[in-house]
């Protein structure tokens, strides 16, 4: 039997019910509120532009041309890390499809047994033992899954995120397993850049004061410095302290292999201190795991063109070679599973059809939850 397949791929991210925006064919994934992210970009680019425009020429001439070159490299790295953090999938867990959700419900009901009516059913928690520590896995009612350890549901993005750290409005995205190292590198390099700019600001002021007096330097004409030098220094000063503080905090978390979420909840502090089952009890190992671990693939933006085509061809050869039996009803009745009814009805009214995307036209191997939805298989 020959078959003609017209495939239209529906990618997972197109069906994601969470509050995210996607661009560039799913390669860019961000939260909905992006205002503060634009502010971050503006502050970084604005401050650095002022530095390059008004201070670098003087410093390059009077000190060394390496100073602006290094500043440019650092600036580019900061922007790259910011964009990488903002645009990557933080490690969103796809929601459970109906069959999986039902399967889990059945397991929960079996575990709970008969709950007398009027009584609240017990909370949906699964206990797992990780490194001799009991960890409770909570059930997410939105995503209909038991959250893996360290995962948490972000209410702003309305997704469960693996190894959820926090939702950062400054980068316009959640920080999770996949983008935590980029976030950390962003804070670290931004601190370095701020320190660098602040230091050379001071050097610049000092050198000019030696030439023309301190007060004159601070009151430079608008022609040379459109913004008052004081404002510039003040912005750098406050950014510096907040960034250095944040970097220090995340360095502390990494050395203990904890997330911000766990730290805030106090999961492994206080009376639970020293019981973190994910920590290797060694600062170097913890840092290596977080910063130098493998690069996890996205479960949302997974492109699998070859897999789709192979799957479809397998479908036709499979149905051709299966032995003939005549037992199941072709007419859907009350015992037929719901997701099969449309396909059975479609099979009955077969014949040349228009190209239509839904998978209902085929036996449910190509069920809606696969990425590919084949439109038609014409038997000849």
């Amino acid at each position: 039997m020959s078959a003609v397949m017209i495939t239209r791929k529906v990618r997972k991210w197109e069906k994601l019910p969470g509050k995210n925006t996607f661009c560039c064919d799913g390669r860019v994934m961000m939260a909905r509120q992006k205002g503060i992210f634009y502010l971050t970009l503006f502050l970084i680019i604005g401050t650095c532009s002022l530095f390059f425009a008004f201070e670098c020429p003087y410093l390059a001439v009077h000190l060394s041309p390496a100073i602006p070159v290094f500043a440019v490299l650092l600036f580019l790295f900061v922007i790259a890390m910011l964009l990488r953090t903002s645009f990557s999938d933080p490690g969103v867990l796809p929601r459970a499809l109906p069959e999986e959700a039902n399967f889990i419900e059945m397991e929960i009901e079996a575990a709970n047994g008969n709950v007398p009516s009027g009584q609240r059913p017990p909370p949906r928690i699964r206990n797992v033992q990780i490194n001799n520590q009991i960890v409770k896995l909570k059930y997410c009612y939105t995503c209909k899954i038991f959250r893996p350890p360290r995962a948490s549901h972000c209410s702003i993005c309305d997704n469960c995120v693996d190894r959820f750290d926090h939702h950062c409005p400054w980068v316009g995205n959640c920080v999770g397993k996949r983008n935590y190292r980029y976030f950390y590198l962003f804070t670290l390099t931004l601190s370095l850049l701020t320190i660098y700019i602040f230091a050379f600001n001071i050097v610049h002021v000092v050198m000019r004061s030696v030439d023309q007096g301190f007060l004159n330097t601070l009151k430079e004409t608008p022609g040379t410095y459109p913004l008052n030098m004081n404002t510039f220094l003040l912005v750098c000063f406050f950014t510096l302290w907040s960034m250095v503080g944040l970097t220090g905090f995340h360095t502390y978390l990494i050395s203990l292999n904890q997330t911000t979420n766990e730290d805030i909840k106090g999961s492994w502090s206080g009376k639970n201190r020293g019981q973190n089952p994910y920590s290797h009890k060694n600062i170097i190992k913890n840092c290596c795991e977080v910063l130098c671990g493998p690069t996890y693939p996205s479960k949302m933006c997974y492109h699998d063109d070859l897999g789709v085509i192979c799957f479809s061809l397998f479908l036709t050869s499979f149905s051709a070679c299966f032995p003939q039996k005549t037992t199941a009803p072709l007419i859907p009745n009350e015992h037929t599973p719901d997701d099969v009814k449309p396909s059975i009805a479609a099979e009955k009214s077969s014949g040349p059809k228009d190209d239509q995307p839904p998978a209902a036209k085929l036996p449910p191997l190509a069920s809606p939850e696969t990425d590919a939805e084949t439109s038609i298989a014409k038997n000849q």
Binding site: E100, V128, I130, Y278, C288, C292, P297, K325, L330, S367
Partner: protein, 139 residues
Amino acid sequence: MQRTASLVTKVFIQRDYSEGTVCRFQTKFPAELDNRVERALLEQTVKTLNSCYVEAEKVGGQSYLEGCLACATAYIVFLCMETRYEKVLKKISGYIQEQNEKIYAPRGLLLTDPIERGMRVVSFIQLLLHSLRTTNTSV
């Protein structure tokens, strides 16, 4: 002309978190597959998948090199290079396809790749295919 219809049920094998957050699936045999496939075959498949994921997530020399090289190039190198995890995932899809063709399809089962379900479950689709011979007038 033959028509085929199918009844489908799905069986899920959940993640095993006893060793932490590393990707591992339970090797416990689901009761629903009792008369469809031999235990040893299923266990072998799941164990092989688990060992592939362990290899992908190993924190060692290669992952350090990859991480450092990527960091030095501001992660631009990933535009031209495939990560080790992606290579292993491709290997896994090939393995799953091979297992489906050799073992599971003849038994009326279809194993789906865990990445399709967010690495949460390994699912088996049980197919009961039936066909009915009819006359060729109603097409």
